[in-house]
């Protein structure tokens, strides 16, 4: 540590200097108060000052006062040297800003002890400052640190027109699901691992072209990586040439995250959605630049995750509107803004409708029809998922009962309804379901509840109990998005589940992707061996359907057969089904709604 020693008495100064140097300190000596101020307030100056009380020009207490008047300067521990032992002098010195005092001539041991005490204070202060500006889990800078550095970059860009920087907003895809299924300790370890990979990705990235702005003395122009939320990281790329450098880093990060993380006994794979903005877009302030990166990240999520998007005027408004949805969502149920759409589930052997899946949409008075991807997570975060889920369940049962009564056939058509983890955990799902069935008159055997794969795994024993209570009412259960979670096969065999739904991500490209094809075959085989039906989601073309048929998959849904459709179109589809018509690909003949599924 560097210590400034200011004393005009050369004998005293030499004595103190030697004592401090023997203790391993770097000592800078001056013999007047003005020089002391200059050294202490310089960038990268000493962290501790030992100041003689009486000095030419400016005395020790005045130096203390001046140093303390620079509130933004890093804290300097100040010790006054005095031969005056009157208590009012000591009080005056401490009031001027000194932290401690030493009476001259100094006992070397006492001086060393007081300097060590000062070091402890500085270390504690450094620790507190670090904690206030860093994330405790990953050790990365936190949001406030990042905001400060971003503001500095914005200020710099206003002075230097050729200065460019980029902000990368990174959100780990499906982190909530990982946390829920593998537990928070695993999620925490994962975040630590992600932080390390981000650091490595940015630090070892030599392909970024740096701009022409030289760093001024004492100025830290290094890139900043911060964690600003549970699974949200931001990166400030300082002094770059243009957006391409941000893209290069985004690509490097995506590659860095590819190898799975080994956490305890788990092997966890993650991807990230990344939004990139730069100051090239003439943003007003730091918040605007961060918001634009956030908006681009949302776009990356909306386009299927595991990708990056650059900021553009089109996507820059997205998060603002999404954030505003929270309060609006509260009134959505009361104001009848929610509606259900229905997507047929067909038998893959003959493409005939066997059931429907109810899918909620929000008919927002300003933003129009909003898909569940844009509001279900908000509903989950705000707890609104409970009334929303209850409404969906009731409305789906009521509507399907009405259709089955109006368009009777040999076998009534069942309906599938998604149940969120919060509904499942809430405790009164069984009782409220009972009420819904009683009030709507809908037969339990025609209702299938779709649970996400992670949901029953969280507390498997309790889940099995609830699942049996549900099936005890007569409803069927299916596991949705199968293959994306972390199911234990042991538990899976104990769940009273009728069907598993293979996640659409495995079906996409199945005809070209051997790996996906093998996974799908394996899931179908697994499901059948456990006595379950297997439903493939997201079938988009005939080739996929043919392959799935070949693999023995029982049921399917997807754009190939029909998008989700408005309730008023369902009767026509039902009647066609009753007439024995199948949803033959490319000639369904039904009016289809915009592609919201």
């Amino acid at each position: 540590m560097k210590i400034l020693l200011a004393d005009d008495d050369v004998i005293s100064r030499k004595l103190l200097q030697r004592t401090l140097e023997r203790s391993g300190f770097e000592v800078v000596c001056v013999d007047d108060g003005a020089s002391a101020c200059q050294y202490l307030l310089a960038a990268d100056g000493p962290r501790m000052g030992i100041l003689d009380w009486v000095m030419p020009g400016k005395d020790g207490p005045s130096v203390c006062q001046e140093v303390r008047s620079h509130a933004n300067h890093p804290y300097i521990y100040l010790i006054l040297l005095t031969s005056r032992e009157a208590s009012q002098d000591i009080v005056m010195g401490l009031e001027a800003g000194a932290d401690d005092y030493l009476v001259k001539p100094c006992n070397p041991e006492e001086m060393k002890a007081r300097v060590r005490a000062g070091q402890r204070v500085l270390r504690l202060q450094d620790k507190l400052l670090h904690e206030a500006s860093h994330d405790a889990l990953t050790g990365l800078p936190n949001r406030s640190f990042f905001a400060r550095r971003l503001s500095e970059s914005v200020s710099k860009s206003k002075l230097r027109k050729d200065y460019r920087f980029a902000v990368l907003f990174i959100d780990i895809d499906r982190f909530k699901m990982i946390n829920d299924s593998l537990g928070h300790p695993t999620g925490d370890e994962l975040m630590k691992g992600v932080a390390q990979r981000l650091l490595t990705a940015v630090r070892t990235e030599n392909r970024v072209r740096r701009g022409a702005i030289p760093c001024s003395a004492g100025e830290d122009s290094a890139d900043v990586i911060a964690r600003i939320g549970g699974d949200e990281f931001v990166i400030l790329l300082d002094n770059i040439v243009d957006m391409q450098d941000g893209i290069t880093i985004a690509q490097t990060i995506e590659s860095a995250l590819e190898p799975p993380f080994h956490i305890g006994q788990h092997e966890v794979s993650v991807t990230a959605s990344i939004g990139i903005s730069t100051n090239e877009e003439d943003a007003k302030d730091a918040a605007e630049i961060l918001r634009r990166a956030d908006a681009a990240m949302y776009k990356a999520k909306a386009l299927g995750k595991a990708r990056y998007e650059v900021s553009s005027p089109e996507n820059s408004a997205a998060p603002a509107h999404l954030f505003k949805l929270g309060p609006d969502l509260r009134g959505a149920i009361e104001n009848n803004q929610l509606e259900l759409q229905y997507q047929p589930i067909v038998s893959l052997s003959d493409c005939r409708i066997v059931s429907f899946e109810a899918l909620v949409r929000w008919n927002h008075p300003v933003h129009g029809l909003i898909g569940p991807a844009d509001f279900i997570s908000i509903a989950e975060e705000t707890g609104l998922i409970l009334p929303l889920g209850a409404w969906v369940l009731r409305e789906a049962c009521r509507q399907m009962h009405e259709w089955n009564s109006s368009f009777p056939s040999k076998e009534p058509i069942p309906i599938s309804v998604n149940i969120s983890p919060r509904q499942f955990e809430h405790g009164d799902l069984v009782a409220s379901l009972k009420d819904v069935l009683q009030q709507t008159g809908f037969e339990a055997r025609n209702l299938e509840l779709e649970l996400t794969e992670i949901l029953p795994m969280k507390d498997a024993d309790h889940a099995i109990e609830v699942l049996h209570d549900l099936t005890g009412l007569g409803v069927s259960l299916s596991l949705d998005d199968f293959g994306t979670g972390y199911s234990s096969l042991n538990y899976l065999s104990r769940f009273p589940v009728r069907a598993i739904k293979i996640d659409h991500s495995f079906i996409a490209e199945i005809e070209h992707n051997q790996k996906n094809s093998e996974i799908v075959q394996m899931i179908i085989s697994l499901g059948h061996n456990l006595g379950m039906k297997v439903i493939a989601e997201g079938i988009e073309n005939a080739a996929q359907m043919e392959l799935l048929r070949e693999f023995g998959c029982d049921l399917g849904q997807g754009f190939l057969f029909s998008h989700s459709i408005h309730a008023k179109m369902v009767p026509a589809m039902l009647m066609a089904g009753h007439r024995g018509e199948s949803l033959v690909p490319d000639s369904s003949g039904y009016e289809q709604s915009p592609s919201l599924t």
Binding site: D9, L15, P56, K104, P108
Partner: protein, 123 residues
């Protein structure tokens, strides 16, 4: 004269001084050399200030001298410097010249004794 004979001499507290320099005799010799240069300079400043009746300069110079002498544990000389400083603070010039003479004589005794200590160490 052996070191033990002078450690409790009134002019200099050798025990205290050796503790201050942490028994570093080399440092002690360095300090003596610096003192040999600094003391005459301060002596001159003080006498000149007295001649010009500049009480503020008398006070600050006496204060600096006091600190320097105390650092070397020149006990009696420190007391004289302290008296001069106090007289200057009180605004009286009477007796300062006499006190300065006493200070010079105390310093001479202490310096001599300290030189003996240093030379014993060298031998």
């Amino acid at each position: 004269m052996h070191t033990d004979d002078i450690t409790h001499d009134a002019a200099i507290d050798i025990t205290e001084l050796l503790a201050h320099v942490e028994y570093d005799r080399e440092l002690l010799r360095d300090l003596l050399e610096v003192f040999a240069e600094e003391f005459p300079r301060l002596q001159f400043v003080l006498k000149d200030a007295l001649m010009r009746q500049d009480l503020v300069l008398v006070q600050t110079t006496a204060h600096t001298l006091k600190g320097m002498l105390a650092s070397l544990s020149f006990t009696t000389a420190t007391a004289s410097a302290k008296s001069i400083e106090r007289m200057a603070i009180l605004g009286t010039l009477d007796g300062i010249s006499e006190e300065l003479e006493r200070l010079e004589s105390h310093v001479a005794v202490a310096q001599k004794k300290l030189l003996v200590v240093c030379s014993e160490v060298v031998q």
